[in-house]
């Protein structure tokens, strides 16, 4: 069974005359271990699709199964639980909790899960090490560069071993050197640790790095191209 199974998915915003069909009949599957990107012109529905997969938004029609959970059937609280326990998120910017250190940010989701202190510390430090941030554990977000902040966000996303990491434009706020490093890093995490990534992006460098590009046009899947990288 695929990790993410989507069929007939539609999402309409607004009512009456000002209705916007952000997604219009999407069918899609994502498997464990994939390194895939949603691409397409601005407004084609990438973020909307990613948010629905992440249980942050709900579909107007169709079904979405993530890691065996039918998202159209669960309430707010269960979606929150699913996000906490099974999903990792990386946003475009300002991902981190400003009052927590890098290590505490990485620990945050583990703490929400109720993992005990020693264990979550260990996992957080391990995650920070895997994104190359040894020695910066006790820095606060405002003491880190934009690239380092995104790496902490990735460390937080992977620290709790999620089924999939959903990243919406993770490189959009970074310069080319930093985004290159970040992409390399995620690629490595995917290859070495089997972390599943699904991006929404315009970044050609990221699109070059992925194994699969899912092209959206006007809320439907236009092309779905796989290739070995």
């Amino acid at each position: 069974m695929a990790l993410v199974e989507i069929s007939g998915l539609s999402r309409t915003y607004g009512e009456g005359d000002i209705q916007v069909k952000a997604l219009n009949g999407v069918d899609l599957q994502i498997d464990k271990g994939e390194f895939a990107a949603l691409m397409g012109p601005s407004g084609c529905g990438k973020s909307t699709l990613l948010n629905i997969i992440g249980g942050l938004d709900s579909p107007t029609a169709g079904t979405v199964r993530v890691d065996g959970n039918d998202l159209s059937m669960v309430d707010d609280q269960h979606r929150s639980e699913l996000r906490r326990n099974r999903l990792g998120f990386v946003f475009q910017a300002y991902n981190l909790i400003p009052v927590l250190t890098a290590a505490e940010n990485a620990e945050f989701v583990l703490q929400l899960q109720g993992v005990d202190k020693a264990e979550r510390r260990r996992k957080a430090l391990e995650a920070l090490a895997s994104v190359g941030l040894q020695g910066m554990e006790d820095r606060f977000p405002n003491q880190l560069s934009g690239g380092q902040q995104q790496r902490v966000a990735i460390a937080r996303a992977i620290a709790a071993d999620p089924a999939i990491v959903l990243a919406d434009e993770p490189t959009a706020n970074l310069d080319s050197v930093n985004s290159h490093h970040l992409i390399e890093l995620m690629r490595t995490l995917n290859r070495d640790k089997g972390v599943t990534f699904l991006f929404a992006t315009h970044d050609p460098k990221l699109l070059d790095a992925v194994d699969r590009t899912i092209q959206l046009v006007d809320g439907t899947v236009d092309k779905d191209v796989r290739r070995a990288n």
Binding site: L56, S80, F91, I97, L112
Partner: protein, 408 residues
């Protein structure tokens, strides 16, 4: 974690936290001081009223309290006194007379009330002897002590002779010669102009009996004002025909009522204080929530339960209120301590405004330090602040993560 985050969030905007807590703290401190002065003035007033005026208990003719007619004396005052002393060995028990009459000197005359007291024991009780500005306090039966106003009216000074005339019971007008031993000034017009003090024994001559008294008062050393052990005195009074025992509350009913009303009024102060805390904290917490919409969006997206987010915001508000209460304590404590030790001397401002009429009041207004207040203010402020944070906390919890994250 919530605790940690709340504390750090509060420290994050130091200036705002400082302004809020110090602002609230100062307002609360002023209210605490007001309250301390208010209770202090009541304590002083009750003390003066009980010890200088009535006593914790008095035994007197039935009806004397309201009439205060010289003719309502009783014989055997010393006997009643010793019986009461037996019933209350530690207490100060004193006889008193009060006679309305005419005082004349070589230069003038005036209608006055002459109070016959026992100068020794009463000395420690009334504040009068502290207020003697010229001469000395009563010592022999020839002495009289008068106020500055009366001295002016009579045109007398220390050592001058005055005659007091009164008609106590019979048709005969009795009179007695005194020498002015001291002149006092209390700042209360009635006391300074229309009262004079002498020994209770010297007034006996004015009565048709040997051992007269209008009142025998019992002043207990460490009495709980609200729980006077009055059984013994009641028994003594009932053994003498026509005599009645009153506790201070019965002897000074208006004072008691007034105090209760006034102290109830002061709870309005605390209600007001609560509302100020409420508005202040609401403003600050709401502002800090509105600034962090995006951050809350991330927290919710990561799967933080709404309940936890609510608790975090509530905790932030609670901490602000508590800190404000601590600031209030830190500011108010030394001031109230000073008010208690030193007080504010309003001396000459009092004039005819003495609420106790003819009982001398200490002219120094002192604060009353009350320990529970220093506990209740931070706790009360924290609770009000918690209540104030409910709205911002719910606002935070109602955020939709997607919209919140997109919020700029």
């Amino acid at each position: 974690m919530i605790w940690n985050m709340a504390v750090r969030n509060i420290r994050r905007n130091k200036r705002r936290t400082l302004i809020t807590t110090v602002g609230l703290g100062l307002i609360m401190a002023v209210m605490m001081m007001t309250f301390a002065l208010q209770s202090g003035s009541w304590v002083a007033m009750l003390k003066a009223a009980i010890e200088g005026g009535a006593g914790h208990m008095v035994v007197q003719q039935e009806g004397w309290q309201t009439e205060q007619e010289a003719s309502m004396f009783f014989d055997g005052a010393s006997k009643v006194q010793s019986e009461l002393q037996q019933a209350y060995p530690d207490a100060t028990v004193v006889r008193r007379t009060l006679i309305g009459g005419l005082i004349t000197s070589a230069n003038g005359s005036s209608a006055i009330q002459l109070k016959g007291i026992e100068p020794g024991p009463e000395r420690g009780l009334t504040l009068l002897d502290d207020n003697v500005r010229e001469g000395e306090w009563l010592s022999t039966d020839r002495d009289i002590v008068i106020g500055t106003g009366l001295a002016r009216t009579l045109g007398v000074g220390l050592g001058d002779k005055v005659v007091f005339m009164a008609q106590v019971a019979t048709d005969d007008v009795e009179s007695r010669l005194y020498r002015v031993k001291g002149i006092y000034r209390t700042g209360t017009d009635v006391i300074d102009n229309f009262l004079a003090y002498t020994t209770v024994d010297s007034t006996a001559e004015l009565f048709p009996v040997d051992d007269p008294g209008h009142q025998v008062a019992v002043i207990l050393p460490n009495a709980d004002r609200d729980d006077i052990p009055s059984d013994g005195a009641a028994r003594v009074a009932s053994a003498h025909e026509g005599l009645k025992m009153l506790t201070w509350k019965e002897a000074l009913p208006l004072l008691q009522e007034q105090m209760e009303l006034d102290m109830k009024g002061s709870y309005v102060i605390f209600l007001f204080m609560g509302i100020i805390v409420l508005v202040g904290v609401l403003n600050t917490v709401l502002m800090s929530v509105m600034e962090r919409i995006r951050e809350f969006g991330v927290l919710l997206a990561l799967g933080m339960p709404k309940k936890r987010l609510v608790r975090m915001v509530l905790l932030e508000g609670l901490l602000l209120g508590f800190l404000g209460g601590l600031v209030a304590n830190v500011v108010a404590f030394p001031v109230i301590l000073w008010l208690q030790e030193k007080g504010i001397d309003y001396g000459d401002m009092m004039g005819s405004a003495n609420p106790l009429g003819d009982v001398a009041l200490d002219t120094v207004l002192r604060g009353q330090l009350s320990a529970p207040m220093f506990l209740l203010v931070p706790i009360g402020a924290a609770i009000m602040a918690l209540v104030a944070s409910i709205y911002p906390a719910l606002k935070a919890a109602r955020l939709q993560p997607v919209e919140a994250i997109r919020h700029t």
